[in-house]
Symmetry: D3
Subunit: 156 residues, 6 copies
């Protein structure tokens, strides 16, 4: 069975050595969604059609958060991301956030994609909470990862 | 109908003025959960009984992230938090993260509690992803907020 | 003659003591501008009318930078800003950035307003430099400050 | 006509992919100036001859800011700068700040040089504002960039 | 016997609640020293007499680090420091760093003074390590703390 | 005699150019210790045997601080660390902290190892200071460095 690689034999946390890994193109995609009442969703949509600031702000927040991943997640390596993107899809009862991160480097960018997605969702909550406090953020998950020795992976 | 307070009449984002608000004790509670397979949950539990590093690391990450909230969420005010706590409950199919933040100040700490919770969940994912990539983070939501002019609020 | 207050008798830099100052409402306004060719200005304008992303991004960057002022300017005090705003005016040959910062606290927010303005201008440069590299950023200056013992000040 | 590369077809901001670019030596030079009254300029000069702290502090602030560029400018890539330098020239009516940044990497360092210059200028303002509030920061511009596929560029 | 206040009954780390504490003036002083060979000490002294850059840089680094304390030490509260100062004394075999921090607030600033001191010492090491690698940093300790309910304390 | 490489001919600080250096595996080890009274040491040990949170927190703080080194030490280059580890040894009168950092890159990681060690020690102080204020941090030093043109070095 595979092990928890961030914990050594004595149970102590450490940043695992990725120095021996090859520099390859690595990419990860993630998504998540926030559920809200129709009235709020319509307000964001209307705004999006005019100036788009809730989503524009959430997009910037997500991109900037991807760059802070190693500052937020204790055992993540600092990475020189080559691309980050965040997109939005309107659902019937909320908004879906899709994110991707890409790197030519020694370790995967799953956490960068997931962090971008999470912070974009939190930003939508922040900018909308005056209208609804019981929004729920759900289904944050990795969709796929490519590159690296462990190979490609796509969620079923 | 209440409005999106972070957007002015022209749709431009701004950090709303909280200078006129009173300094009162404000507190917020949030929670979320991460679903994982039993084998992984047992590994974290076993570890928790020994040295607890996955959860100890996630706890520290969540507390530190609460302090970074205004650096992550574009329109959040910088706040001098007086208390932050993060706790864990083992569920049948995963782990629940509960967080709280407290402040004596001019604005609420909902985003600080939600950010602590989200980053603790991401840290659990990061430290466990070698064993399972399709974990899902869900049900991140505000449980309650207290203090301030808008009064107390508890999720139904 | 007034002295350079960040340097003591021996010429050593230090963060001056503001502990004895009263908590009053303090506000500062600043502005600056970036000159560009007409073709680029029109592209930004056209974009602004559709989705406004150059200016929306610059606005968010300016607001977030105001919150980082004490992290950038070595002798600035960390401050709990209560409001930050950044606005744009189209000029004949470029864009004017106007910024303001407000605080209930012990020291002025001139540097916060100036930093918001500077970083918003740099962000416009960054997002436009593929079209023009010789844009020039000029006339960054304080317009007014209010509050505090030293009284109000407005540029002539 | 060249396009605003940070904005996609739908007007959404994103961090452009530089993964396909080659690792080459890239260098950028920038400059700017701050105008001040003679009395203040003489005070800084006298100080510079003794301990140099206004300029020493501004120099350190500029160098450290270059390293924070991707944290300040939303769509800048995180870069492993190999050199940063900031210098000063006394003008008749103020101080000129010259900056340079160098990298072996996949994208240019124009923003790093411009950010170093801007923050050094803001630091001079901060350390001098007790003596003069109406100083003006001007003529921040890129002087040259070298390296990369788009070739070398020098301001006319 | 007094307890480890950052650990609750279950041994879990948390940021202790200081919300009930009064806003009083709090101050802390700390010191530490770095031992080096005479040749290096003389080089720093000579430099200090000319432009002082090793010590000027270490001073700025220490002051800026004090402002980052809550970002470095996991359970420290974010604080609005009102004053920070770092000074140097030449010893026979090295340099002594003295630091102080002051706050009008709800909790002590011991960690801010100790962090300023530690980072100033590390900066001296960094700027001098080309000449000597076996410098030793020692005797970092709190000298005194004032203010707050627990009263004043001075090292014996 | 070797020179202070961070200072140029005119005494001005700058970030030295490492662009011409080769990408090699570089590693550094450092250590330091904190002296405390027996009663406190036993309390930490007892806790370590149960949940280990003082040391688990200090470990995380040290690892995260290594990643912030270039943000703390003004002239350090930003580096993509490939491994960081922090360990603890109980001494008769305190705790020894051992740290290591590894990189495939153009410059050494001595400061990263020393920063991890210093911040882990400060965190132990912070979490224990309710029981003892006159703990002393000492003997922070580099143990060895490997890789790079200047060759390997081990403390005598």
């Amino acid at each position: 069975m595979s092990k928890l690689t961030h914990i050594d034999g004595d149970g102590a946390a450490h940043m695992v050595d990725v120095g021996g890994k090859a520099d390859t193109v690595r990419e990860a995609h993630a998504e998540g969604r926030i559920a809200m009442k129709l009235e709020l969703l319509e307000a964001i949509k209307a705004n999006a059609m005019k100036k788009g600031d809730v989503l524009a702000t959430a997009r910037i927040a997500g991109i900037m958060a991807a760059k802070k991943t190693s500052d937020l997640i204790p055992l993540c390596h600092p990475l020189a991301l080559t691309k980050v993107a965040v997109d939005f899809t309107f659902l019937e009862d909320g908004i879906k956030v899709s994110s991707m991160a890409r790197l030519t480097g020694k370790t995967g960018v799953e956490m960068e994609a997931l962090t971008a997605c999470s912070v974009a969702l939190l930003t939508i909550y922040d900018m909308s909470k005056a209208m609804q406090k019981d929004m729920v953020i759900s289904d944050i998950r990795l969709l796929s990862k490519n590159g690296g020795k462990s190979g490609d992976w796509t969620v079923e």
